[in-house]
Amino acid sequence: MQTSQIAAPQDLIATHDIPPARRSAGKWLITLATLALAAIVLYQGLYAAGQTETGFANWRPVLYAYLAWGVALGWGQVLMRGEGGKRALFVLPAILFTVAVVIFPTVAGLYIAFTDWNLASFDGRSFNGLANFWALMHDSYFWNALRNMGYYVLAVLVQYAIAFGLALLLNAEIRARKFFRVAFLMPFMLSPVAVGWMVGKSLMEYRFGPAATLARHLGWENPAFFASPWIARFSIMAMDAWVWIPFVMILLLAGLQALPKEILEAAKVDGANGWRSFWQIIFPLMLPVSITAIIIRIIFQLKLADIVITVTSGGPGGSTDTVSSFIFREYRDRSNVGYGTMVAEFYFILIALFVALLLWGSSRWMKRVTG
């Protein structure tokens, strides 16, 4: 691994000989652009608030103004700081983009969360303080969905175990490895919505689905995959695992292939059998990759929605509901924007804390294990 963070070229290029005229030109450019943007925002803002008569039909001119401001900002940087400005140009577009696209919606979202806003009612938006929050605290459907998320996150460990097994298989001395790798990766390429139909609605269909037929042959008389809470939950987990196991497997396989060969050979010579050499050598060496894979996978799992929405819509009785699918129904079927957004913001805070805790805990644990 290279630690080439800081390039040396600072010494190669003089950054201090920028004429003062150019420097002040840059300063003026940025100031003027900022003023122009502020003026347009104010102009349209007053019109939208009903204070003035004239304005644009929508806010799109403000978007163009923001883009122009971004260009002016970058140009001004180059004028003012020369080489340093040119370097800033690398990272500036992405920052401006992300800030515009994340910060505004987050702030707007916080506002919406504290309003009583149902698209289906005629009253429109009205501020209602913490009412949504108290409603959320007493909403058993939400807490039920949150508990389900706990189950779904635990299912990641099962996915990890299966994926590890598959990665070991692919790492063994086999022929046609490329074929098996492509075949194993395939489910990951498919859209969860299509998987919802292919597997959930067709393969597992009660009357004619092959999975149901197979289950009947195996002695399950009434193979209804989505009728009782736990079976439905397991069916959703199975579909989710089918889609995501390849992802974990690929990460673990890369980890296995990066293991130092000498250590494995040494283990063989020592006469360690497969099981022991796995637990004593391979598994500990694979811990860093495993932790990475599991954490990334959990982060994705917290967004689980598509399969649940298309296959069960959270049923039966909310037993397969995820928080995302719950909010989706809140928006889609009940048009309850204010409340749905409150749930979303609350959930976001919860998972941000959870992921932070997870990262902190795993890094501490790794330090202790690896010493």
């Binding site: 963070q5 577009p93 390429m189 498919l190 299509a194 292919m198 067709s202 004619f208 690929i250 298309t310």
Partner: protein
Amino acid sequence: MASTMKAQSGMATRPYTYREPQSELASNTKRIAGKVAIYTLLILWTFIALFPIYWTITTSFKVAVDVTQGHMIPWVDYTPDWRGWRSIGLSPDTIFSTSTVREEFMKRFLNSAIMAIGASLLAVILGSLAAYGLVRFDYKFAIWRNRDISFFFLSQLILPPVVLAMPFLVLYKELALLDTRIGLIVVYTLMVLPIVIWIMRDQFRGIPVELEQAALVDGCSTWGAFMRIVLPISLPGMVAAFILSVVLCWNEYFFAALLTSTNANTLPVMVASQTGSQGINWWSMAALSTAAIAPLAIVGIFLERYIVKGLTAGAVK
């Protein structure tokens, strides 16, 4: 070939241990049993991974009676029929006649393709530039340093779509971007940008600084060195990031369902809307699903190398 080489070298490493002929035989048997077990498991999982796809493709050529009787193998226990494909206007006899379903399908297919490719391109451009800057230079924006900027980008990965969905709906209404392709492209770019930055950071770290320093000595500017030296070297990484982004955008459902209605609808929305209706025709649903997954299945077969590269970037140190 490789396996026999490995076996020989494995034998060569332990010539010192004396083995009874019987134990040689026993270990041979054991090895063969191990091989059989490995291949059995491999084939079993191949079946699990591919059967739903096989089932979907074959069902698109079935008629009602084949579905209800659980026929599985075309030409053996049922005769393939174009009914499913006819219903979406893609069978040989309807492909040249007008079909509203096909037009709808093609529109959404095109939407999906344009959005996935557009968003991925935008994300790869923005993300590569940012990743390069973060790897090579030291930034200081107010109190923000490289670590903070990187964390800011990567933390977007945690953001669940539900948090952004409604604010985006409000924002896009004001900006007149609802139900437009550009609107969804922006959302998708945001969605894949952290992943692209993650991959490209790893990619740029692997390039020795000396190359750029040489270019700078030769009179290139910072951007010139990036364009002429770094870009060509890091192209495989960019392709990997691009393809992974395309996969994620093509399959996205949540935003597409909430932010589009008639103009900018994508394929997953079409598939989902068909699934919801009662008494679905299996054959047409199967044909629709097949058509929706086909592009990515082909990508998966031919560009698997890049997907693996993209997925594993930065995970293995």
